[in-house]
Symmetry: C2
């Protein structure tokens, strides 16, 4: 789930984005229900309920147990908690855009230094790790545009309170350039290793 098919996450949200299906999940989270029961409690016809249950089953949110002619549906709680944990992983969204913000090796390093809200917890000591953080930070800036120092500070503060340190490091690694109080992002080919 952590870094899989982009449409997987989308399918989850689609499955959850309807009132009838959310209410169905609520019922089957109490206990197993048959289609009949659910149709009665939801004031819908069986085919409609069956249709929704099929969608929920496709993404693994409900479980089906057959017993004679009656089908017992129940919540699959692990799926829901896996989804929740996936949402907490930073960088999960970025992979959806087809952007691939950095390599997956670096992503692991990065994950250790980011809170679920996407802020920096720390600044690592090793140069390799520091660079991963700074690459990520530098990519927050748009290429081909000027930034005032206040803008640079604001952008850094979205991720860490210590603007001075990170501003200085970004310039030191030649990720940002500075002239007369104006900053801009340099092409990645010029960034220092």
């Amino acid at each position: 789930m952590t870094s899989q098919n982009p449409t997987l996450l989308l399918n989850f949200f689609k499955a959850l984005a309807h009132e009838s299906r959310l209410r169905l999940l609520a019922f089957v989270s109490e206990r197993e229900h048959s289609v009949q029961e659910l149709a009665k409690r939801m004031a819908l016809k069986e085919p409609t309920v069956s249709h929704h249950l099929a969608l929920l089953r496709e993404v693994g949110l409900v479980d089906l147990r057959l017993d004679g002619t009656t089908h017992w549906y129940a919540l699959e709680p692990k799926t829901l908690s896996r989804l929740a944990r996936a949402l907490l992983a930073p960088g999960q969204l970025a992979s959806l855009a087809g952007i691939e913000p950095q390599l997956s090796t670096d992503e692991k390093i990065l994950r250790n230094y980011l809170t679920p809200e996407g802020r920096l917890k720390d600044f690592p000591a090793s140069r390799k790790k520091r660079r991963v953080i700074l690459v990520w930070l530098a990519r927050q800036f748009e290429e081909g545009r000027d930034y005032s120092e206040a803008e640079v500070n604001a952008l850094i503060e979205r991720r860490h309170h210590d603007r001075e340190t990170f501003r200085r490091e970004l310039v030191g690694y030649k990720m940002l350039a500075r002239k007369a109080g104006i900053y801009w992002r340099l092409p990645e080919s010029e960034w220092l290793p």
Copy 2:
């Protein structure tokens, strides 16, 4: 978020249930973007992007900063992590159905003894707390229907491995009755305090 307006959760999922909006979130999670930039990177017209951003803003997933005539949109990561945590809370779904499975005082007790997957971690010592757990467990059974012992065991094992203890307790509290190997749920008015 823990136990609020049922439609709030639904609105979140609706906002997230479209590929364009997920990709928008991915872009603004990198850094601030203007509407123009986003329209260009997404190959959509500005009004379309503006429309989607408005929806995302309504549920607090993105933030807007005005600067002259250009509007800078950025991800609001706290909203996403709050949503994720809400999904991990057991009983969150139940409140959506208008079911209200138990009182909120009891819900707090229950929450302490449930894993995010909805399984029982423990069996409390105090009678009051034990009863809360058993009420919740008894409501997993359907009234007006017979259960074989195997079915009772299966239902209990969805929540805790120790079927014998809980089966015995449910009968002891007169929540379940037993005759000739057949079990059934008793009306709540007869359950012992």
